[in-house]
């Protein structure tokens, strides 16, 4: 069985360590806050440093206490608030350790496309390009293939790019893949998934080691 969204988020959270400053993109990445180790400091580009998981109780909704996806959150001790220009100075200036973004397509060289489906047009860039440029490490979370079975991991992105060569790690419902100088390397596979299944779902060449460890969650 491919991993649920919660399990993808849980695996991504294992990349985080106390003291890290982490920005979570809208959608799937938002779930990571609930699984992160204590001491990770989450930055929301709308001007919060230090917040926790999404509040489930709708009665707690406070319009001024939201993450970048508009969802209600609460601050942790030591949090601070700032404006959008200050927030992106922090992002662009290289002060974010890890950004975790959703993806539509990732290329084997780490190009990311995540802001527009060409068939729809228009698009919503949000803070994705700034994060792809400024974060020291970029992790992309996405389903390995689209709902109609098309590969999202490709030799070249066919959707408009968010950034070129910006992705370091991809966590999907099937596998963990790392962008290396030699190419895209398969690092882990999900429980109950075979290497052959990952290769079938990947529309691009992968570097596959003799032994592929199972994801730890």
């Amino acid at each position: 069985m491919p991993l649920t969204r919660e399990l993808i988020a849980m695996r991504a959270a294992r990349e985080l360590a106390p003291g890290m400053v982490v920005n979570l993109g809208i959608g799937l990445p938002t779930l990571v806050a609930s699984y992160a180790p204590e001491g990770v400091l989450f930055q929301a580009e709308n001007g919060i440093l230090g917040y926790g998981g999404v509040l489930e109780d709708d009665a707690l909704f406070d319009p001024d206490m939201i993450n970048a996806g508009g969802q209600p959150v609460a601050t942790v001790p030591g949090a601070s608030f700032f404006s959008s220009d200050a927030s992106f100075a922090m992002i662009r200036g290289g002060h974010i350790d890890v950004a975790i973004l959703g993806g539509l397509q990732v290329s084997v060289t780490g190009d990311l496309a995540n802001w527009m489906v060409p068939a729809r047009g228009g698009g919503s860039i949000g803070g994705a390009m700034d994060l792809a440029t400024g974060a020291r490490r970029l992790i992309v979370l996405m389903e390995h293939v689209t709902k109609t079975g098309e590969g999202r991991i490709l030799p070249e992105c066919t959707y408009p790019l968010t950034g070129k060569g910006c992705v370091n790690l991809i966590v999907t419902d099937l596998a963990v893949l790392e962008v290396t100088a030699a190419g895209l390397a398969l690092r882990e596979i999900a429980p109950d998934i075979t290497v052959a299944e990952v290769l079938r779902a990947t529309s691009a060449p992968l570097l596959v080691p003799a032994q592929v460890p199972l994801m730890e969650l």
């Binding site: 319009p63 001024d64 206490m65 608030f81 220009d85 228009g122 919503s124 949000g126 803070g127 390009m129």
Partner: protein
Amino acid sequence: MKEFPTADAALEGVTDGMSIMAGGFVSAGSPTNLIRALVRRGTRGLTAIANNIGLGDELDSLAEHGQLAKMITTFAIRASGSRTTHFERQWRAGAVALELVPQGTLAERIRAGGAGIPAFWSPVGPDTVAAEGKETRLFGGRPHVLEHALTADVALIRAQRADERGNLVYRGAGRNFNVPMATAARLVIAEVEEIVPTGSLDPEHIVTPGIYVDRLVRCPAVPVRWQG
């Protein structure tokens, strides 16, 4: 005293064809009362500059009433077409122009507009459509894009509290685009939860100095929820 009795009165002099910045990020710090007043006013041919114009965003009412000529924003059209905004329909019909900007670039361009910096080199967006038609240059071996300052005729912003001089403090994530926009428009109109006597805000805590704020109006917060 800069206080106006109503949001409608505070929009005096806002006319067709103006450029209007609107602060707020989804529900946080959104000048909903002022935007509703702008809808009531019926001003048309506007260029609006704001972070988002999505489902549930009050700005979408301006599109609904055909008041927008152009939108400069970061969240415009949802990837999923299951529900669409008035803005999306207007845009597909060619009735409104769209300039889509990376969010940090939008914030920095507005800050630059207020800070007297006409243009700056940004590492964000080379190799993407955000760089199309723009000058690029290498700094430290990396490509950068020349981005130009943004200013506007009017900024509509929201803060938590003002003093009578227009000094502003915000609440939580409510600062967002309100802070740079207050510096970058010729006429800055702020809706606030309350106005306190001058001297009652600690000078250490003021976020927007009052010299940036031309008009104040007291309005209760309108909690609007974004739907994407």
